[in-house]
């Protein structure tokens, strides 16, 4: 382990105050000994930098998929008091409400004939990759409605079932969205990209539930071994990226104006109760709503394809849940023994509210919320459930994915996109992407093993394993 870091329990490490100057609280991260081998000192320094920000409470936290980002580390979680605390785009990321949803189907693996046609049809219906443009022609008024209403807008337009919104974090619509704080530039990027998947690590995957670890919770979530599910991983597209860029500039100036001293420019922030802080929150919430509408529209296209190919009634493809893993939210947590409203930043971390928590759908009240952890291309994804331990230790948060361990330059030297596609094909996983070059740096072994990351959060108790899903066919952006 890196010098200066203390073990405080199995898989639990503390970064003491003083690791970098100005820390107000200690840092804590969760990592197994084997995952520690690839821990970057830069990521730990970023975790410590977050601890210097005004109004931070309890700890600066990082999940076992911690790696070096900008501002916050990826996997970073921090909560700030509403009075005196700050909000920072560096604690959310460029892809606001990047998230994952899991759709269940009544199909079994053996029913899935003609997978090539399935993946080609999905690829045709869902605009994917760099330059992918939506077939929708949104008006300015419609975009404003999306920014305000999120997934509910899409459902109203016929892109889903009324019940879908119930099974989204925040019911697919974050309160406090203020479309007026979303620039014309961001809107111009948002109009043609609604309902598009994007590129990079975003994907749509046809999966099979390969193993169930917790029968009771799996039953509540409506998944069983051998069942075909669809996982959709994407975010707020160029609109969210532009909102982050625009507000970073404003907040950078605000940081100086409010006399906040920071060790990293990318932690630019403003008090939550300042005009600049409120404006960023309003724009971030609007972008989050855009992302929920986006995933809803993609869900609709997916259901239509499966309905027409396999005769599955649209309404029998249930949304298990939709989680956001890049977002800041107002939540109530116990701080110094008192329930306190705080602004929780999750930057590459998933909410993992435990049983009976407010804000989770009532059918999941007994289990805790579903937590969806996407694998990287060709590796398993996991369904877990939120816990009381997460509520105590991490403001109800857990990991969000695998986390890269190999740079893109290294990856490209090792294996080509064509080789990746062919080797996955041999393993029974069809990959469809705009080009082989676009998958060249996404080989499965450039990420930490997702199973190992998930095992840490399971062992620590930040969430509990429910099921493992394995890919059958993947669309990569």
């Amino acid at each position: 382990m890196i010098a200066g870091i203390q073990s405080i329990g199995p898989n639990e490490w503390q970064v003491p105050i003083g690791y970098v100057p100005g820390m107000r609280v200690p840092g804590i991260f969760f990592l197994s000994p084997s995952l520690s081998e690839t821990l970057e000192e830069g990521a730990v320094r970023q975790l410590a930098n977050v601890a210097t920000m005004p109004g931070i409470v309890k700890y600066s936290l990082a999940m076992p998929d911690i790696h070096w980002g900008y501002g916050f580390p990826i996997g970073g979680v921090a909560a700030f008091t509403l009075e005196g605390g700050v909000i920072s785009p560096g604690g959310v990321g460029f892809d606001i409400n990047c998230g994952v949803r899991l759709l269940s189907t009544p199909l079994r693996e053996k029913d899935l004939s003609n997978r090539r046609e399935l993946i080609e049809r999905l690829f045709r219906e869902i605009p994917t990759g760099v330059g992918g443009k939506s077939g929708m022609r949104l008006s300015g008024r419609e975009l404003t409605e999306i920014l305000t209403d999120g997934a509910a807008w899409a459902v109203r337009q016929g892109y889903g079932l009324a019940v879908d919104t119930v099974f989204c974090e925040e019911e697919g619509c974050m309160a406090g969205a203020d479309p007026a704080t979303v620039s014309e530039k961001a809107r111009a990027r948002g109009v043609p990209q609604s309902g598009t998947l994007g590129s990079g690590n975003h994907f749509l995957e046809v999966q099979v539930v390969r193993e169930v670890y917790d029968d009771q919770s799996a039953k509540v979530f409506g998944v069983s071994p051998g069942q075909v599910c669809i996982m959709i991983h994407c975010g707020s597209r160029g609109l969210g990226h532009q909102v982050c860029t625009d507000h970073l500039r404003v907040l950078e100036a605000a940081t100086r104006r409010y006399g906040i001293s920071l060790p990293d420019r990318q932690l630019a922030c403003a008090p939550l109760d300042s005009p600049e802080g409120r404006a960023y929150f309003g724009a971030m919430a609007a972008s989050a709503n855009y992302a929920w509408a986006n995933r809803q529209i993609i869900t609709h296209a997916t259901r239509k394809v499966i309905e027409s190919l396999y005769g599955v009634p649209y309404s029998e493809m249930r949304l298990v849940y939709d989680v956001a893993h890049n977002v800041a939210k107002m939540e109530e947590h116990v701080v110094d023994g008192k329930r306190t409203r705080v602004c929780v930043h999750r930057k590459g971390a998933t909410r993992a509210f435990g049983p009976a928590s407010p804000g989770i759908p009532s059918p999941y009240s007994s289990t805790g919320q579903p937590v969806i952890i996407p694998g990287s291309m060709g590796t398993p994804s996991f369904l877990l459930r939120g816990t009381d331990i997460a509520m105590e230790k991490t403001f109800g948060s857990t990991c969000h994915g695998a986390g890269r361990v190999m740079s893109r330059t290294q990856a490209k030297r090792k294996i080509t996109g064509k080789e990746i596609r062919e080797s996955l094909g041999k393993a029974g996983i069809l990959v469809r992407a705009p080009s082989d070059a676009s998958i060249a740096d996404e080989a499965p072994d450039v990420y930490k093993p997702s199973a190992e990351v998930v095992k840490v959060v399971h062992d620590v108790g930040l969430s509990r394993l429910v099921a493992r899903l394995e890919p059958l066919a993947v669309i990569k952006g």
Partner: protein, 135 residues
């Protein structure tokens, strides 16, 4: 080559080296396009650009962020930039070609230009820019 990728685990870190500031900006634009599209564009279309900022680092950051917007909304794959640059202002012309899926699908979207790790310096007669593209 006047730009190349440096090792970076999560994102894309690029170093650009040029004899003049003007050339540095033009090469930085080509580097950004190479990441997004797998290659920079070819000449064909011209478009004016003006960017203002409060210091040299902010200027290059704002310039590259503006290119993300232009390429996304206008579908322009930039081939070079012909600019005149002062400490906090640049103006000039971008050249490029319209996006074509058959030609430009070899890369990945860049979500933003990171301030972390951004450095612009003048050493031994060369301008050197290190910048991280968030992907």
């Amino acid at each position: 080559m006047t730009f190349w990728e440096l090792e970076h685990t999560a994102d894309v870190k690029v170093r650009v080296v040029a004899a003049s500031l003007e050339e540095l900006y033009s090469e930085a634009a080509r580097a950004l396009m190479s990441v997004i599209y797998g290659r920079p564009g070819d000449n064909g279309v011209a478009r004016e650009i003006v960017v203002l900022a409060h210091d040299a680092e902010s200027l290059v950051h704002t310039f590259l962020s503006e290119l993300l917007y232009i390429t996304d909304v206008e579908g322009l794959v930039i081939s070079r930039a012909d600019l005149s640059i002062t400490e906090n202002e640049l103006r000039g012309t971008l050249f490029g070609e319209p996006f074509s899926p058959a030609k430009h699908s070899g890369g990945r979207e860049v979500k933003g230009i990171s301030y972390s790790g951004l450095s612009l310096r003048h050493e031994h007669g060369s301008y050197i820019l290190d910048v991280i593209f968030d992907v």
